[in-house]
Symmetry: C3
Subunit: 159 residues, 3 copies
């Protein structure tokens, strides 16, 4: 009886730790890319993880780091940018997980800031070497396109 209760507690606690590790990983993305920590941002992905965002298809950690170091991204940082991701909805199944959240990209404009994009973000993650890593992230603008809506619908459903 004690054995069963201990095992059940361990199982439920581990499930929460997994979800929280993924939530933390996703919450780290914006701060890391907005301060230009290219390598730390890339470490959120698996070695050959992908990041498919409109007009940009990255296929590895090296690609993600190169995006952060690119003139385009460095230009955003120099101007003032905030990749603002909302709370993620995470679904874990063993060593695989799906997460989804919405996001806005806020850029400095004159004395204030403006929202240049609102997006849907779908993440596939795997536990690799004991650490959750993004194996595929897909981001699409919430501009009425069906693909962005599909990312949200499948993400909340954990698919």
């Amino acid at each position: 009886m004690t054995e069963e209760r201990l095992a059940e507690l361990e199982r439920r606690l581990a499930a929460m730790e997994d979800e929280r590790a993924i939530e933390r990983l996703i919450a780290s993305y914006g701060p890391l890319v907005d301060c230009g920590e290219a390598d730390a941002a890339a470490q959120l992905w698996s070695t050959d993880g992908s990041y498919d965002v409109e007009g940009w298809s990255m296929r590895s950690r090296a690609d993600v780091a190169a995006m952060v170091r690119s003139d385009a991204h460095q230009g955003l940082i120099g101007r003032g940018c905030c990749h603002f991701l909302g709370p993620a909805v995470v679904t874990v199944a063993g060593d695989d997980a799906v997460a989804v959240c919405e996001s806005i990209l806020v850029l400095r404009r004159g004395d204030g800031f403006s929202v240049s994009r609102a997006g849907a973000n779908h993440f596939r993650l795997q536990r690799i070497d004991g650490r959750w890593q993004i194996v595929a992230r897909t981001t699409r603008a919430l501009d009425g396109q069906a693909e962005a809506r599909d990312l949200l619908a499948t993400g909340v459903a954990g698919r």
Copy 2:
């Protein structure tokens, strides 16, 4: 002694699971309405749960689903919208809970996006059939009105 420690662990773990289930429910709202999943969005409410938002008073799951399917809401989706809710502050007492968060509504405008509304969101939830469900949500624009401020103050206090 072991019995007491097990019971205490179970109590604390269950408390965290309750809060997290409610956080997940609230984090799902934006993605679900922005992709038009009317039935899944409605399932966040209890059968006769209410959603009172300026100019719109819903009194059931069916009403919430009808709102998502309405021409007004479908127009927002087609144009591009993001109902962006922040991290919720959740207070649970047995089978009842209160949660509060702020939100912004971001709409596509021309090449970019604009913030058409900032809001205060107060949720009353109940555990019904073993699942947390919204029994009353009230949302008011943060436009200086006292009612929006009351929602925030009572929500953080868990009332």
Copy 3:
């Protein structure tokens, strides 16, 4: 064996409770200042905790409460404001913790709202009298300045 498993469960559960208490504290900040709950907002800080935000250097709970009660802040509330903080990344070490998040300040403008600032927020916290309290918060606009980027980089690294 049972003793070891119980102790390990208690350790991991307490670690999660600490992180969640800090997340809740940070998620409460926006709602509290946007509704003008000066004393409750000030209670998030330690008695002599600091809040250093561009152009304003607070050095105590009393200073934080005075900021909320100031004409400048009350003017924002009357006009309509939303201090919108994103999900925090929290790192706990014993009775000390570091947390970081990005934020936007949304103000009513005409019929809609505009983003007047995007910011980096770095928090140092301590467990005092059994409750997590902010001992030092530093906020800088994400306008390209190095200081804001440093807050994000050190915050995610838990420093």
